[in-house]
Symmetry: C5
């Protein structure tokens, strides 16, 4: 579900972002609490080991390792790699939002350019509209686990009324030849407009071409969605960033232990029991990485992923409204109140 908070930040005021900190849904706490607990368990295990279980000689080794680990924190510029990586992920994330096709434009074109009030004309308009939805739902199936759960097979599309029996058959007949058939509704769409033009329901090439072009743009966005799903950010890049972050905090587990102040290591003055700042640092860096993790596939079911289910629902309703129910209906013309 998309988390919208624009209303709450529409005006800058005292500590304006503070109220955002108290949310749970889609929050960084929700994404991160498991990691934090895991980190704390490891941290305290090591702490208990050092304080109560180790012999003096072993403690000295522990301390040496700890100091060595503490030095490591400067070796990897975590902030650099995270900042650039998250930037790229955020850019992709928005591009992925913009790739979601909305059928409104094409539906309005269908309504405007496929003429006729008889049943067959209505049927053509409705079918053209339905093909848009069908193309979209097949695309969504491929990229989104949520939609895949809702429509696991073509049977479910049939049931939902998005496909007819015969369409199903033609769709299946093609199956043995090619893996991905999301483009088939586009083919049907263009064949059907061709038919409609022959029957003089589409009047001329201008209208035909405009309609076709609009559908092809819609089709192109479906293709873009599939591309983003197919071509992830290179695995090696994600691995480098992840390993850098994780090893950093594995080193921190040792390096930030409270050491016996009698040994005189610099910077080990007070024993806080709770490693507040280490925890905040963990929260910050791993939280930053979590943002990337949350955004890297926004077609999933995270709190903040795009609501493709709602989108689909909305599009089905809008398309049928525009191409059929509201077709060529508009309020009666009247002089407006500014008329002179």
């Amino acid at each position: 579900m998309t988390i919208t908070y624009s209303l709450e930040v529409s005006n800058a005021r005292l500590c304006g972002f503070t109220n955002l900190l108290l949310r749970w849904k889609g929050s960084i706490y929700k994404y991160l609490w498991r990691e934090v607990i895991l980190f704390l368990i490891c941290y305290y295990s090591l702490s208990v080991l050092y304080r109560y279980l180790l012999a003096q000689a072993e403690k000295r080794v522990f301390e040496e390792i700890s100091v060595y680990c503490a030095a490591f924190t400067d070796l990897i510029p975590l902030s650099f790699v995270l900042a650039f990586y998250v930037s790229q992920v955020v850019a992709r994330w928005w591009a992925q939002y913009e790739a979601i096709p909305w059928p409104d434009r094409t539906a309005l074109m269908i309504a405007s350019f496929v003429h006729g009030a008889d049943e067959r004309s209505r049927m053509i308009r409705r079918t053209l509209g339905r093909y848009l939805i069908l193309m979209q739902v097949i695309t969504f199936q491929a990229v989104s686990t949520a939609i895949k759960k809702r429509f696991p097979t073509e049977d479910h599309l049939l049931e939902a009324g998005l496909m007819t029996e015969e369409e199903r058959k033609q769709y299946d007949k093609l199956k043995n030849q090619l893996g991905t058939k999301w483009w088939l509704p586009a083919q049907w769409f263009s064949a059907l407009t061709l038919r409609a033009q022959k029957e003089r329901r589409i009047k001329d090439s201008i209208q035909m071409q405009a309609l076709l072009n609009e559908m092809l743009t819609f089709r192109g966005l479906c293709g873009t969605m599939l591309s983003y799903d197919w071509i992830s950010l290179p695995l090696a890049y994600t691995q480098v960033v992840t390993i850098a972050t994780y090893t950093y905090f594995v080193a921190q587990l040792m390096g930030r232990q409270y050491l016996d102040p009698d040994m005189g290591y610099t910077g080990y003055v007070i024993d806080l029991y709770v490693p507040v700042f280490t925890l905040l640092q963990f929260f910050f860096y791993v939280g930053w990485l979590k943002v990337a993790e949350e955004l890297i596939n926004p077609y999933g079911e995270d709190d903040d992923d795009f609501e493709l289910n709602w989108t689909l629902e909305r599009n089905i309703q809008i398309v049928f409204l525009i191409v059929d129910h509201l077709h060529s209906q508009h309020p009666r013309l009247k002089r407006d109140i500014f008329w002179e």
Copy 2:
């Protein structure tokens, strides 16, 4: 209200940006003075506590915590995360400005392509123009608190003359089926152009298609505005940045206290009473964050938010001027003074 200062910086001169520092409206001071006061109150409370209220032993604990906190400031690369976050917010902010639809293009198309000087032709042109405004105002209602205040319900649109009674009814009739109906005026627009074409007021498919296309572009921008409102920058990202900044300065509250120089802590030499540089640093970092806060929803009522109210007003006037009052009027042709 938009803060324009381009005139004042049109020429680079001695300390050219200095004159910008003396402004109040839309300034960083105005956004930040409350936070600064809050910070100072906390700072002096701790200072008073340390200097006058604590016992010697407690002072030593205070000092240890203070030194510990002071060390924290290096742990979080605040500048990195703020720089990238603010960059992304600024990019979104400008994209949101560019998403504001201006009806001029479509209005000129209406004036050019819907022919006829009779009342019905005028009525069609005015109504088409009004639908653009209506689509815009419904969009603005959804994204902007300022417009929502001005037109809280459809009744206010009716009163303002942007909707007729019958339009209101049709709009309401649809209500029980779907949440968002901002696209309905687009449907009316296309149905009305269809009617106009049938009545030969729009002459051919070229003109029809150009007009429709222009309106769809306008509609698309409304959709983009709604998208920016619906899909905020991920909550978790904003939280990570905010928490990083806030905890940084909570640590500073302790870490920058003036400690007894007799204790020999490094870097605690002079007692300034006013922590000038800590304050400047606070001003800088929190100010940077405030810039993000101000820009993250530019459709609000901040000093520097886009003036949607003015925009709406202007568009209403321009649209009626272009589609009706000035329709097919142009100054009489004359030889210009360069004529040879």
Copy 3:
């Protein structure tokens, strides 16, 4: 005036950018020399104060403040905020260049699509062309101080032959209703093409629509220019960057003073009299900020601002050449030398 140096750097050679360092016009020296002198005056005043005027006890205080200030330089990541801010300003600067509309395309369309060799056809073509210029000059008036100086009022447009008496009247008549009327020539343009089409000088809807569309693109760029002028980078952002830079160097004024080496402060070894590196640092950071200052409004009269005056001049000449003098003229066809 635009500073072009691409020729001098077309080939990379020994110290290739060195020759650029010797220029004055548009150079960083020219922008910065006043600030440098101001900085030096303050620096030496403090130096004199410390060396000759203060008592020993006061000197100690001075030294403490100096050391305290020197520590401040690490607190604000000036390079971060400047790098990102200047990046954004440079991106806007180029976008602002690209927003300058050139009438060539539209003029060629006018020449191609408004047919007829009689005087009235010529007059229509010339007037359409003139409206482009008029729209441009009104836009330039609003955004550019240089153009505003040249054409302070509509009277000057009239005198320059860019407006006729009647146009002036119609333009003024509208004045009492709306503030900005730069779009009015676009309205006249479209009304005049409508007239031309009725008179069969524009042959069909294709040509009509292509011409209109081209003009609307031109109009859109004018709108973009006005937008960039209207919506500056948020004031608060500019303030944060400016204050950060200025306070940094106010702190440097104290922090980089030469202190008595007998007092044993680290890093105060040689007395250079001229604080070479402090000056270079000042030059670098304030120079970086100056680049932003120079670019933030490129429609002004800085050495490096876009030459809107020249642009206007050139456009007037080109438009009349294309739409009238050279209309439908082309060299006689001949076999070229490659003909076989």
Copy 4:
């Protein structure tokens, strides 16, 4: 082969990226293991040299060099140059993906605009479709080693049925005049549409122009692919980045040696035998560079390169399906289940 992992990261969960760390194919381990081994061999050779082979005096020299090298690590901001370089490479990489032309749009246009059910019409449609594929395969030959291996010469295109004998001849005839002839199929395409229009199979200029325009867009993408292949990121830039990274680790080889702790060099406390953190650092920086290396030519045969072979295969099938087998076929119209 493209490495897709979007499904595995569709939901953020505990250590969500962890499961990506266990992959081999396309992983950073696979790219990097040779470099790591090489680095370790060098490291241990030096270590053995120091510990067992050098005399005491030589050891002192070794130590001095080591300390000197260790200091070098701060001199080059490797993270900066890598972060920006990799950013640019990633941006190019995605642009290169977007440059891959898909013939679907053009094929659907061919099916819609080249009319007629007779054999000659079918032949024209098939040939037009084939020319798209041919243009693509010649482009792929030039940029991709994988495709070059599959189709080393024009003979192989002939064999695969992508060229006819006569086309081959015409293609070869042109050979002696120009190097690159990838645009020739575009010329044939346009000549053939001209023919089809003369034979009234393409009905009017609208359709003709739409078809031509679509093909030209396809052709433009082929040109873009060739451009990315022709114009690499400047060699000097890549060299600067590579040399910086390599010299950094050559310095590390010496600088991170375990030195005799008796000599009292700071930071040489424990003898880990395995230089864990140096290795991690190597892994991180060289891994980052490897990401660039993997992405800089994504038309190759790396694990993560774009699968041009599959793309070609798919396109051949789709094109013939759309322009011929499925031509003007669509499921019989039926009332959908929402019909009222």
Copy 5:
């Protein structure tokens, strides 16, 4: 000459970029060797001065200056300003490549839309094509020293057959009025299409408008090339970056001298004679700046500049092939081997 190395890096392998390090042409060594030698001469001069020529007291001064200079290296964040500056230059560089107009699209449009097999039709087609080339070559003359050398005057264009005598005259006649006349061939082009349409060689407005539009896009790219040449990155920005880099290494010349270890300055342990790391650092930073210098005007004659000469040659051949020699020629239609 463009340096292409994509083939060599198509697959990531052991030290994949290593083989790029051994190239000379277009390499960073070739750009940088003069600067390196200059730097070394200065370095050793100072070194000799210090070691052999100065008295003891002078040595102490030298050492103090050296230590002072060494401290300077931290004052200017060279990496920041270089990283951002080079990023901007690289972005511009690619935009400049994309601005190079290729006439293929327009040529194919000419071939498709200017009908007729008679000599006059051929002549029109050839002349239209030639005008594209002419517009391009005049643009190239203005921006590229290489093309300027090849065609210093219009006489050379005449000789090369790109202009006819009469065109030359008309071109010259205009000279006294305006400086830049690169747009004139565009005017001729549009006038000639107008003529062709009147003679019914271009059949309708669709074709006319498509052709005109294509040419205008070509013209627009020429304009963009001129813009990039005219509007350089602001001089002040380039100066700031250059001065920062140069002063940094002037300071290094002193600061990295080998000082007498007996004096006990920290970090001056071994006397390497060759300042390896200083040299590497010089190589790195100045190399980075050199990349910018090489890319800032890519229309020059650097090893890595775009080959405008080749481009022109190629375009001349292609244009005449498409608009004339191959006009309406395509291989005879045949059933392809997949025919069923």
